[in-house]
């Protein structure tokens, strides 16, 4: 079947099978509440019957607060907090992350282009105590050489693991290429080489400069009644007041004639990844891009799937599309895992062709199936406390309303074929492509 016929069939087959009402339009869930406590926005999604409490703390201490020389410093500061010894009860002080685990919880962090976010989760009965542990380490990190060394080693292990994940390697390259600020495109955890250059005083200075209340946001979900009053506000309020500014490190965009980035790693099979720009959540294009991403994802999966098979297979899982809207700048990513499919180059070329056709050809037929798929993906992507707390934070920061579920579903429901067409033409132009190849192979292979 030719690509055009395949696309046509995919579009036409939906006609005559229309839902009576757009998916998701008639359903709503309780909206998160947004309060301002002492200048700190606090987003809450309370569920008194939940077993857990999850809290996201977002601070303006991400990649764009580093200089190029400081690659990895934002991660090292966050990891130092996790490795800071804290004392509970009569026992000896142990690193925060171990203390949290021993109290029935977990803590981790993510470094974004303009933020660092901590996520701490615990059994409801232990949540106040766990939050207090986090607060004690957050407000008084241990910058001793031993703790910073421990943090550096922990990051080194994560970096080594990430380097074995071809998709992560490719995404790091694409983020670097698409970033308008050079420092915001640096690897999230730094590199082992860059981390080796950073000493405790660097971490101390970074912390003292950027761990401020200004711009902080707290988002919590779960059994919030179990928290002692004031716990959420206290997390950020304990930090010094003040706003901080990004370190501007502008670099001109890539000027080469090709938009391919190639690297080699110790992996067994190639990965091919394409990146397109995407709209932010407060754009009118947000809903249409969710629908478009659903269409691309399903089409790629159908192309790769073994004919006549209804279960997910290695082949159908070898391709995918992700609308990465919770990160700035947003993007649409297509990928092919060469280890799961016989001819990854062909699959990738087909994927790019699908996108090109979408951008150039007027859509015909109904898009209701793809709206349903987009609604399902969107609703299904927010069922853990972590994703719910984080997405509410994303929406609160980018659009002043944390009601991500109802707004997202409404945006999908309101999407028309013309919207999808417009978004395809606006965003699906020339992609940046990352190829992550096994060592000893080249493009011709």
């Amino acid at each position: 079947m030719t690509l055009a016929r395949l696309l046509s069939a995919a579009l036409v087959c939906t006609v005559g099978a229309l839902p009576l009402v757009s998916p998701g339009a008639e359903m709503s869930v309780p909206s998160p509440s947004l309060q301002n406590d002492g200048g700190i926005p606090i987003v809450s999604q309370a569920d008194a019957s939940a077993a857990l409490v999850g809290v996201v703390l977002v601070l303006h201490a991400g990649l764009d607060r580093q200089s190029l020389r400081d690659n990895g410093l934002a991660a090292l500061a966050a990891q130092t907090i996790l490795r800071t010894p804290v004392k509970q009860g009569e026992g000896p002080a142990i690193p925060l992350e171990d203390a949290v685990a021993a109290r029935g919880g977990s803590i981790r962090f993510t470094v974004d282009p303009d933020d660092v976010r901590f996520y701490v989760e615990a059994l409801a009965g232990n949540a106040s105590a766990v939050a207090a542990l986090f607060q004690s380490a957050l407000t008084a990190p241990d910058f001793s050489p031993a703790t910073v060394r421990s943090a550096r080693e922990a990051l080194g292990r994560r970096i080594a693991q990430n380097q074995q994940v071809a998709l992560q390697v490719g995404l790091d390259m694409l983020k670097a290429a698409s970033s308008t600020q050079a420092n915001a495109g640096l690897p999230e955890l730094g590199t082992t080489t860059s981390l080796a250059q950073l000493v405790p005083s660097d971490v101390r200075t970074f912390y003292a400069t950027y761990y401020r209340r200004g711009g902080a946001l707290v988002s919590a979900a779960g059994n919030l009644d179990a928290l002692a009053p004031g716990t959420l506000a206290a997390l950020a309020a304990a930090l010094p007041a003040g706003e901080t500014s990004a370190v501007h490190v502008h670099v001109p965009p890539l000027a080469g004639t090709t938009r391919e980035i190639v690297t080699h790693r110790d992996i067994s099979s190639p990965w091919l990844i394409a990146q397109y720009p995407g709209p932010s959540v407060n754009s009118r294009d947000f809903g249409p891009m969710l629908v478009l991403a659903a269409f691309v994802r399903r089409t790629l999966s159908d192309i790769a799937q073994v004919p006549g098979v209804v279960s997910p297979t290695f082949a159908s899982r070898s391709v995918g599309a992700v609308y990465d809207y919770d990160r700035a700048p947003a993007s649409l990513l297509l990928y092919v895992n060469g280890g799961l499919i016989g001819d990854p180059s062909r699959a990738f070329a087909t994927a790019l062709s699908v996108v090109n056709v979408l951008a150039a050809t007027r859509l015909q037929g109904s898009i209701e199936d793809f709206k349903a798929e987009a609604a399902g993906d969107f609703a299904g992507s927010a069922t853990t406390l972590e994703t719910r707390a984080w997405l509410a934070a994303v929406f609160a920061r980018q659009s002043a309303s944390p009601d991500f579920v109802n707004r997202g579903l409404a945006a999908i429901a309101a999407t028309t074929p013309d919207d999808v067409q417009r978004v395809a033409r606006t965003y699906l132009g020339n992609p940046t492509i990352a190829l992550v190849l096994p060592r000893g192979t080249n493009l011709q292979d």
């Binding site: 008639e26 997910p312 349903a372 069922t383 579903l409």
Partner: protein, 436 residues
């Protein structure tokens, strides 16, 4: 805990009536009888936008005579892809509603699951119960199911966990469905199964009286009124147990990949405290990233990938550890050393921390609608519905909180002594693997 082996899933199409999910109801577990036979368990959470719908049955994987490996698999898939009265199959309908369909087939049970936007719950409940309570299996559906199983069977050869699971069960059990792989390794096993065999099996195994409907997420009582089919009142089949081998022996097997599996026969689900203790052991030693053995191997830069779980079954349960990725013998020794240490009571403080971590992991692993629906279904058909993890402050949590170092050590000594071992050897030597 519930093993997860998804053997089927996703695609697209249609929609019809609509359901407005009311918000604001408190999360609570409710149980009861379905209007036309069978029972339900519901855990409502109006704070999420999606819902999980499941149908669970007691069904022998190799047929009621244990002579037809793959029969249950073909029946479960065929019922999902057969056209309903609307002309669309359950599989198609779920995907058209923006959801995913999973078909889990085990030796003794079948679990069908759909995760969909809450607005589609009633449509999916109606279609799922119609597809299974009144199955209309035809040649086309069986052909699709056969092709599906054949592809999955080939894939499974490259999955050390699933392959070793089946091989270890074959060694442990002398008779009954657990002796046979739910997904046959031979295509001829599949092609020899006829459409009438599949249809008869589906009609018997998937009758409503033999079913538990599970609902989790943004659902409420009105979801139940969408059940329009059923075979009428009746009793659920008795739990389907298998016969233990009198002297199970270790074995060597050849396959597409290298691996090493260890198994121990454990307590029945009825001994909830002992079963929970073995879940605790699996969590403490083998959980990804936090397990004692897992972290030890990570720190040593080992290439081994070790997974461990207690498979909670009606009688008996089975503790499984599988090792892939190379250097299996070294990893096996790490596993045995760790178990030997646990045969003595842990330090009280260390145990308290490990138990809190375990309780947290259980809560964390049962927070999504799909996880909740799967656990409710699994534990219901294995015979202990109130013991399902994910029920806040339920029997499982109480059993976990009752554990103490001495009891855990006693359970380790009682159940986790000499394991049954299966050494899986790749016919084609694998790069960088299996050097002791």
């Amino acid at each position: 805990m519930t093993p997860v082996r998804t053997i089927a899933a996703a695609m697209l199409v249609l929609a019809s009536s609509l359901f407005v999910a009311p918000a604001g109801a408190a999360t609570e577990r409710t149980t009861g009888a379905l209007p036309r036979g069978g029972s339900y368990v519901m855990l409502a959470d109006p704070t999420v936008a999606s819902a999980a719908v499941g149908l669970w049955f007691r069904a022998p994987g190799a047929g009621y005579d244990n002579a037809t490996p793959g029969l249950s698999n073909l029946a479960a898939t065929a019922a999902a892809v057969a056209p309903l009265a609307s002309g669309k199959s359950l599989y198609t309908l779920v995907h058209s509603a923006g959801g995913d369909l999973t078909i889990e087939v085990y030796a003794d049970i079948v679990g069908i699951g759909a995760v969909v936007p809450a607005s589609a719950v009633r449509r999916v409940v109606a279609a799922m119960t119609a597809a299974y309570f009144a199955p209309s299996v035809d040649d086309g559906a069986v052909r699709t199911a056969r092709a599906n199983a054949a592809v999955l069977g080939v894939q499974q050869r490259y999955d050390p966990d699933a392959t070793l699971h089946d091989l270890l069960f074959k060694q442990i059990f002398a008779g009954g469905p657990a002796r046979y792989p739910p997904l046959p390794t031979s295509v001829s096993d599949l092609t020899s199964i006829t459409t009438p065999q599949v249809a008869d099996f589906a009609k018997r195994a998937f009758r409503s009286a033999n079913a538990v409907l599970t609902l989790a997420g943004n659902v409420d009582g009105s979801s139940l009124s969408a059940v329009t089919d059923g075979s009428g009142p009746g009793n659920m089949d008795a739990p389907i147990d298998s016969t233990l081998a009198p002297s199970p022996a270790s074995a060597t097997a050849s396959g597409a990949i290298d691996g090493l599996g260890l198994a121990w026969v454990g307590p029945p689900i009825g001994d909830q405290k002992a079963a929970t203790a073995l879940d605790f052991v699996a969590d403490y030693l083998f959980r990804d990233r936090t397990g004692l053995v897992t972290r030890s191997l990570d720190r040593a830069g080992s290439a081994s990938l070790v997974t461990g779980q207690f498979v909670t079954l009606h009688d008996p349960g089975v503790m499984l550890v599988t090792i892939g990725g190379g250097r299996a013998k070294q990893a096996e020794q790490s596993v045995l050393d760790a178990l030997a240490l646990l045969a003595q009571p842990m330090d009280a403080h260390a145990f308290e921390a490990a138990r809190e971590a375990f309780l947290y992991h259980v809560a964390s692993d049962t927070q999504t609608p799909q996880q909740q629906a799967d656990n409710l279904g699994w534990y219901a058909v294995e015979g202990a519905p109130d013991y399902a993890p994910g029920i806040v402050n339920g029997a499982y949590v109480q059993a976990a909180r009752s554990l103490d170092p001495e009891y855990v050590a006693q359970i380790v000594r009682r159940y986790l002594q000499k394991p049954i071992v299966v050494d899986l050897i790749a016919l084609t030597p694998q790069k960088g693997s299996s050097t002791p």
